[in-house]
Symmetry: D2
Subunit: 178 residues, 4 copies
């Protein structure tokens, strides 16, 4: 058996990067599922770990990053999925949630061997993180209705790669078991 953690990837976001126009509709569609999934994790006592880009803001901490996104024009995409007082927070500088971050140390402290990945972007960070989780021998679940993409065809290919090549279980939020 073992323990699960819910990993919320890059949802604290100002959405002002080049591809945001393509990304935002997908985030909007995923948001209710994502919110439901976070609520379920919280109510079942599953650790919720936010792993988020710092956007090169080495001077700021995540309190400030949250404030900035809530003051921006896409605050309604951030407000529903904010960390609460029990949420854990890991800052990343680059693509994967594992690369040069203390996440694998934190997971081992929590005896977690199963990660449920949600957030964005399916064919980028989510794909890379599923790979890095699989390499580290963690079991991976990706609810496909709680991840957001920029290009639908690449996202679809990414989900197949995760399933075929990284042993990930691809399902929807309703059938995720922590």
């Amino acid at each position: 058996m073992g323990n699960s953690a819910l990993i919320v990837i890059d949802m604290i976001n100002t959405y002002d990067h080049p591809d945001a126009e393509l990304l935002v509709p997908s985030v909007r569609a995923a948001l209710p599922h994502l919110t439901r999934l976070i609520e379920r994790a919280r109510s079942e006592g599953t650790p919720v770990i936010y792993v988020n880009d710092n956007f090169g803001e080495w001077r700021s901490h995540h309190g400030e990053i949250i404030k900035t996104t809530l003051a921006g024009k896409n605050a309604e995409l951030v407000a529903p999925v904010l960390p609460d007082d029990d949420s854990l927070f890991v800052v990343k500088a680059r693509h994967s949630i594992f690369y040069e971050t203390p996440l694998s140390y934190l997971l081992s402290q929590l005896s977690v061997n199963h990660v449920v990945l949600c957030g964005q972007v399916t064919e980028q960070c989510v794909l890379y993180s599923a790979l890095d989780a699989h390499i580290r021998r963690l079991r991976v679940t990706v609810p496909e209705d709680a991840v957001a993409h920029i290009h639908w065809d690449l996202a679809k290919a990414a989900l197949r790669m995760m399933e075929r090549n990284m042993g990930a279980s691809i399902r929807n939020v309703g059938t995720v078991a922590f």
Copy 2:
């Protein structure tokens, strides 16, 4: 500017794993291009680095792995791309050529900042290695006629991901510049 290296991925192979049936025709098609590319790198003095799975053979060294593959039924897929006396060799245990291998140290010793990736499998090790090279701020080129795939549609998606999201230059062997 900077220095280039040609990385030959997982070509020392017995091809007796589950997906080999799908993989072998693609290897066969890539082989003449791959051979030409290796020859060009050698004649131009570009370092050729074999990075190869050890197939769980922690008792063997790569001399033995080569011998095994040459004694197998798919020796004709290995013989044309054997390392020569100048080739460098790095053993990997897991998917990416960088994960828990000394490759990035070796590249920095050689002052390499541009890697040309060839070999297999396009939508697996080649994709993961392109990502890990990009994360480490190396420039990446992938000649699409010198990489082999298991599933053509996933390989195509992988090549687009490398180009769009990892800044890789996708071209063919004839136009690769070391």
Copy 3:
């Protein structure tokens, strides 16, 4: 030539761990030198990077960690060396400043190839960080009057190890060249 960065290790500290009694006098002695070094780095435009333990506080950010230490009984050891608005901040979970942190990525973004290590503990984090910097081919300077120890004899041995085996330049604050 190249660029330098000043790395301030674990100085945001409540000093309530088991060895604090031995450590605090050494911190007190190092503090004026450390303060002077930080001021010089700031006035010369050398990046000052705080790398600090998060004390297992995965819920907090470094703004909160600073607040906690300033509210504690050893605030006078923290107040003189606080980060200013230009300081960079990297959180670590374990011993070395490099292990599972984005520090090496940040240094490469800043084109830093020379790190000046100050803070604590000489025979622990400072030693481990000097090793990890040396392995990553960074030049290392350690001003021995701006680092604090728990055991003087181990600290002395650690400084000799850094000098002999990690190519570190051991000097005092007055002769550090950024």
Copy 4:
């Protein structure tokens, strides 16, 4: 409980580097204890893993490295501790046995959570490897009669650091329990 592995560090060696003159007598003294320890591990079925520098020989494999050392003038320091057919072999390029090597992957495959470190150099690779094992939450034992040093005082300090700061059990070969 858990599984142990015996790690033999850098014993396949030509001893022609600058500090060899200081190192060789210590190797000679450690050799009978080391041999006894390797024999016991083999007879008890404990995996014996050689982790050895490749001396920048990226063209050679470990079969060739062994041949070179056996042809050298210090062959009698290598012959008693050669790998047998069951020994596992991991090549490293830099100081620690873990840095950019697949050792932690291999240990996790073997379900090893306790490493017994022997070989050389106490105040260098052995110290660094003990640290990196401790960071990765492995239990560490170092038999002080089966490790060799260049400087006795630094070695002594290194052993105290391993015991105090890395939770290592420092003992002699006779009392090592796999």
